[in-house]
């Protein structure tokens, strides 16, 4: 098959043999090992856990280790580019610092009140909040949603779907002690209210999460806090 790889401003073309059950990551690895060892890309686990191998494949952001060539190839052609909305370091490698800094800005850190000498907190598995947290917790931090989001492209300060999804899981964690501060952190022009509900993040999330639903939850929580005068 013909594979076009974005390197800097231009695309470089390679001819890569098709294999059964071949993933896009296999294709990029083949190019680096057999055709051009200077190609830079990033991966670690190869099994959809670590969130490091996301790239733009035929125009859409995807986790390349779990994306089969059969599913995305068109006319025996594949185009691979770095993720959108992140600065490119080289070839297919993006600088993800800004992405993760936004998790910190959205108060993505858990902070509890108990010490290790105290008993475990008991959270009812069937409670509504536990259900909301469970639905959003499996994020692997791959930045596919961030790359898919138009609001990030239009407003570079926007925290983005992944950071807000993380904030939503903690907003539903009854052990966490930073609730008011977190709602303040996710309000505002760069926060949850900037989301236009385009659903691109939900459409593209490889873990089938819905950051859009979490962001809607944050909008409601922030608005309620504002009306109570707690913001």
């Amino acid at each position: 098959m013909k594979v076009r790889v974005k390197r800097g401003e231009a695309f470089q073309q390679f001819e890569v043999p098709r294999e059964p059950s071949q993933t896009v990551l296999d294709v990029v690895t083949h190019i680096q090992r057999h055709l051009d060892p200077t190609l830079a890309y990033r991966y670690a686990c190869r099994v959809g856990m670590c969130g490091s191998c996301a790239m733009t494949v035929n125009g859409a952001p995807r986790w390349t280790c779990r994306t089969h060539v059969d599913k995305v190839v068109r006319n025996d052609e594949l185009t691979v580019a770095p993720l959108r909305n992140l600065p490119v370091i080289r070839d297919l490698v993006t600088d993800m610092r800004g992405f993760f800094d936004k998790w910190a800005r959205a108060r993505g850190q858990f902070q509890g009140a108990r010490t290790r000498s105290e008993d475990f907190a008991r959270v009812a598995p069937q409670s509504e909040k536990r259900g909301f947290a469970d639905a959003a917790i499996e994020c692997i931090g791959c930045a596919v949603c961030y790359s898919a989001c138009d609001v990030v492209a239009w407003n570079p300060d926007y925290l983005g779907p992944a950071a807000l999804n993380r904030a939503w899981t903690l907003a539903n964690d009854e052990r966490d002690t930073q609730q008011a501060a977190r709602l303040r952190a996710v309000a505002g022009d760069a926060g949850c209210h900037a989301c236009h509900t385009h659903l691109s993040c939900t459409e593209r999330c490889p873990k089938a999460l819905s950051p859009t639903a979490g962001i809607a939850g944050l909008k409601r929580a922030v608005a309620a806090a504002a009306l109570r005068g707690e913001l």
């Binding site: 609001v151 239009w154 407003n155 022009d189 926060g191 608005a223 504002a226 913001l231």
Partner: protein
Amino acid sequence: MRGETRLWLAQRASAAVLALCVLVHLATIVYAVRGGLSGAEILARTQGNAAWFAFYSLFVLAVTVHAPIGLRAVLGEWLGWRGRSRALALWLFAMVLYALGMRAVLGVFA
């Protein structure tokens, strides 16, 4: 951020008012002109009607709140226009909207 949240709430609330107003507005037009109506006949029915005056005054107010907040996001995201100058321009836009709307309301219902 409190300001942003208030703007969001104002836009949601005005959208709820607009949804109702637009429905009533369209239904009334369709109902009233079934048999054909002249401008003079319409004015004869509407002028001096306090209830419709109040309804359309609310309609104009909701538009005045709703449109500039939406335009604010468009200007920020598409043109990168933020800050004081955008706020001033939007206040001006809101005042023009309100003036034009109330001019029509006064003309038809006062």
